[in-house]
Subunit: 394 residues, 2 copies
C-alpha cells in the first residue's frame, strides 16, 4: 500500500484511487482539474506550477477532455507523477498550497460529453423489465444474448451529481385508455448504472477490438439514468426510448481511472457462452463494483456490477464494430445494474415499490476492491426531484 | 426580386437564398464562413474586413456555431448586410476580392454537431416500413399519429457531403437462420431526409413552443441517413436503431436560412387531426421542398417534403416538451421523406429495388419555391460507397 501523510491507508480515496474531477471555487479564477485524497482535493495546476507533475494548460479545465485525449501513456505519466508528488514528504509545503477541503469546492461536469450511449447489459434487469413490459412473452428478445443491446441517449442533458432534476411532462396513455393524455410523469424512476469515459479517440472505419478497451477508455463513473416509465411505455416502439430518458442523466463528478481498478476485474456472464469472435474477451473486463441505491437516506438495494452479462470492453467493441468512431469525452453506460435478488435491483420498477415523489433525494454510491486490500471509492451521484413545471400557454 | 451583378435572378442560389457554409482553401490559413451566390462563393470575413457586414471572429470558423448562437436578430442583421453588400455595385471591388469560384474551395462540415435526433415523420414511409418489417400487422403503431416518433443518433459520425461511406460490418440473422452471423451488410440503403440546424439554445426545463420554432432554428440542410437494413433488423428491438445507422450520416454543406423559405411554408398532414395542445401549430411549418434521389446519376425518386405528417416545429416542440434543452449546433432530421407513390419514396427498400453496391454514388438534391417566383436551391448531399473493411484478427 502506498502511504501518504495526507490520508489513512484505509480511505476509499487513498493513493490507490486518485480519481480526477473538475471544480470551481472562489480560490481560483476558473475551473480546475483536481484529484481527491481522503477528504482533501488537490489542485493539479498548482502541483504543475511547483514542477511536481507535467505542466500543461489542460489542468485549468474547463473539462478533463484535454487530459483524456493524451492516451494511456499520458494517463500513466500523470498518475505516476501524482503518486510521487503525494508520497514524498519533501513536497509537504507545495501540496498544502494546492490542497483544499473537499467540501469547499463545487464539482462540475467533469467531461465535455461527445456521444452518450446507454446499454442494457444486465440479464437480470432485462429479464425483469421484459416480464413487466411484455407479460406472457419470452422476457429476453432473441438478440439479447448475442449482442450488447444499446441506444444513443441525449448528451446535452448529462448533468453532474447534485443538479436537481425536474419531473418531466409528456404524453402517456394510461392503460386501457384509448387516447393519450399529457401531464407530469407519475412513474418517475431511477436506473443505477456504471459509466465509462472514452479518452483516446478511434478512427472511422477502424473497430476497437475487445482487448483494446484500456487503450481507449480512461475511467469509470456512476450514472443515474432517470426514467419516466409512463412516457417511455407509450413512446418507445419502434425506435426506442426518447423523451422518457432525455430530460436528464446524472453522472458522478469523479472519474476513477481504470488503472485503479485492476484488482476488481472479473469475468462477466457472457464469458461462458457462444459468442461471435469480436465479442470474445481474452482478459476479463467485468468489474467487482458494489453499488448502493438510497432514496431519502433509506437503502433500497445493493446492485452488484460483477453480475453483468456484458462487459464494458464488449460494449465498446460492439459500438465500433460497424466502423463508427468514438471521440474523447464520449460516455457509455452499462444500463441498469441488477443482481438476481430483489434487494439487488437497480430500479424502483423492479423493486416493486412506489416511484419517486417530488422532493425525494436519490443517491447512488459504490466501492470496488483495490490492490493490496485497499478499497476504491467511486464517489456518488446525487439528485433531488423538483416538481413538474407548469407548461406555458401560448 | 433582389438583383445583383453577381448572379442571374433565376439562379437557385440568387440573393433570395444566401445559404451559409464553411470551407477551406489554399487561399486562406484556416476554415472560413462563406455564402454562395450562383457559382461563386463569397468569404464573409473579407466583407467584414471591408466594413460591409458586422465584423466578428466567427467568420473565421471552424464552424457556423458562433453565428448560430446569435439568435434571430443576429441572423437577420447578417442577412440584411449581405443583401446590401451584394446589391450595391459600389462594392464591386470589395466583393470581387472576397469571391472565388465555388469549385475552388473544399466545403467542410458546417456545424459542430451537438445532439443529433432523427424522426420518423412521413406517414407514407412509416406505413411502407411497417408493412415490410411487421407483415400482417397494422403498419402504423398506436402512438404514431399522436406524437412525432424519434430517437437519438450518433452525432460523432455526421459527415459532410462528399465523404465516402464505408460499407459497415455487423451482426445479422438471415431469416430463418437461428444463429446470427457477422459480415458486411448486404442490404445497405439510403434515407432521403431534411435536416434542421438549431441556433438559439433553450434552457433546461423550458419547452420550446410549437410557434417558437423560428426563434431557435436557423436553417435547413439535406441529410442522407445511411442504413444497413440487415444489421438494423436484428438489433433494433427493443431499444431502437443503433449500429444499423451509426456508421455514418451525411449532411449537405450549405445551411439554407429559414428566412429564405418563407414562401415554401405549407400545412402538414397532422394539421387536420386531433392533437394534444403542445403539438397544434397556429402557423404552418411544413415546407414545399422537392427532393431528388439519384444513384449513379439515375433518378430513383422525387420525394416531396410537403407530404409529411409532422412539421419540424412539431418535432422541436415534442423534443423539448419533457424539459430537455437544445444546444447551438443540434441537428434534427425529418426521417425518410416518402410521398404516396412508388416514384416518391425516399429509400431503396421502399422502392423495391436492389440495395447499394460498392462504388455506387448516391446524390440527394432539392429545391423549394422562393419569394417572387424565385427558386431556392438546397444544394446536395453526395456519397460513394466504399467496400467493407477487413476486420483485424487480434
Amino acid at each position: 500500500v502506498t502511504e501518504s501523510w495526507l490520508v489513512d491507508a484505509a480511505s476509499p480515496y487513498g493513493l490507490a484511487n486518485l480519481p480526477l474531477g473538475v471544480a470551481v471555487s472562489s480560490r481560483w479564477d476558473g475551473p480546475r482539474v483536481l484529484t481527491r485524497v481522503g477528504d482533501t482535493v488537490v489542485e493539479i495546476a498548482a502541483l504543475a506550477d511547483a514542477g511536481l507533475v507535467p505542466d500543461d494548460l489542460s489542468w485549468r479545465g474547463p473539462s478533463l477532455n484535454p487530459l483524456l485525449a493524451r492516451g494511456p501513456a499520458g494517463w500513466a505519466q500523470v498518475r505516476d507523477a501524482l503518486t510521487a508528488a503525494l508520497t514524498d514528504s519533501a513536497n509537504h509545503g507545495a501540496v498544502a498550497l494546492a490542497s483544499a477541503p473537499a467540501d469547499s469546492v463545487k464539482l462540475v461536469l467533469p467531461i465535455q460529453v461527445g456521444d452518450y450511449v446507454d446499454f442494457y447489459a444486465s440479464e437480470h434487469h432485462a429479464t425483469n423489465l421484459g416480464r413487466i413490459l411484455r407479460p406472457g412473452q419470452e422476457p429476453l428478445l432473441p438478440n439479447w444474448r448475442h449482442l450488447p443491446v444499446g441506444y444513443h441517449g441525449r448528451s446535452g442533458t448529462v448533468v453532474v451529481s447534485g443538479t436537481p432534476v425536474r419531473r418531466p411532462c409528456g404524453q402517456q396513455r394510461p392503460d386501457p385508455g384509448p387516447e393519450p393524455i399529457f401531464g407530469p410523469s407519475t412513474r418517475l424512476d431511477v436506473e443505477v448504472e456504471v459509466g465509462f469515459v472514452v479518452g483516446t479517440p478511434s478512427r472511422s472505419g477502424e473497430p476497437v477490438g475487445v482487448d483494446e478497451f484500456a487503450d481507449h477508455v480512461f475511467g469509470v463513473c456512476l450514472v443515474n439514468d432517470w426514467s419516466a416509465r409512463d412516457i417511455q411505455a407509450w413512446e418507445y416502439q419502434p425506435l426506442g426510448p426518447f423523451l422518457g430518458k432525455s430530460f436528464a442523466t446524472s453522472m458522478s463528478p469523479w472519474v476513477v481511472p481504470l488503472a485503479a481498478l485492476s484488482a476488481a476485474r472479473r469475468p462477466v456472464g457472457s464469458a461462458g457462452t457462444s459468442l461471435l469472435p469480436y465479442l470474445r474477451e481474452t482478459e476479463p473486463w467485468g468489474l467487482d463494483i458494489s453499488l448502493e441505491l438510497l432514496v431519502n437516506g433509506e437503502l433500497v438495494s445493493r446492485p452488484p456490477y460483477d453480475a453483468m452479462f456484458w462487459s464494458p470492453a464488449q460494449m465498446l467493441a460492439h459500438l465500433t464494430v460497424n466502423g463508427a468512431s468514438v471521440r474523447t469525452g464520449d460516455l457509455f453506460a452499462s444500463g441498469t445494474v441488477s443482481g438476481p435478488s430483489l434487494d439487488q435491483v437497480g430500479s424502483l420498477i423492479e423493486a416493486g415499490r412506489g416511484f419517486l415523489a417530488d422532493g425525494d433525494e436519490v443517491v447512488i454510491t459504490a466501492t470496488a476492491p483495490g490492490s493490496d486490500g485497499t478499497t476504491i471509492g467511486l464517489g456518488e451521484v446525487r439528485g433531488v426531484v423538483l416538481p413538474a413545471a407548469t407548461i406555458r400557454r401560448t
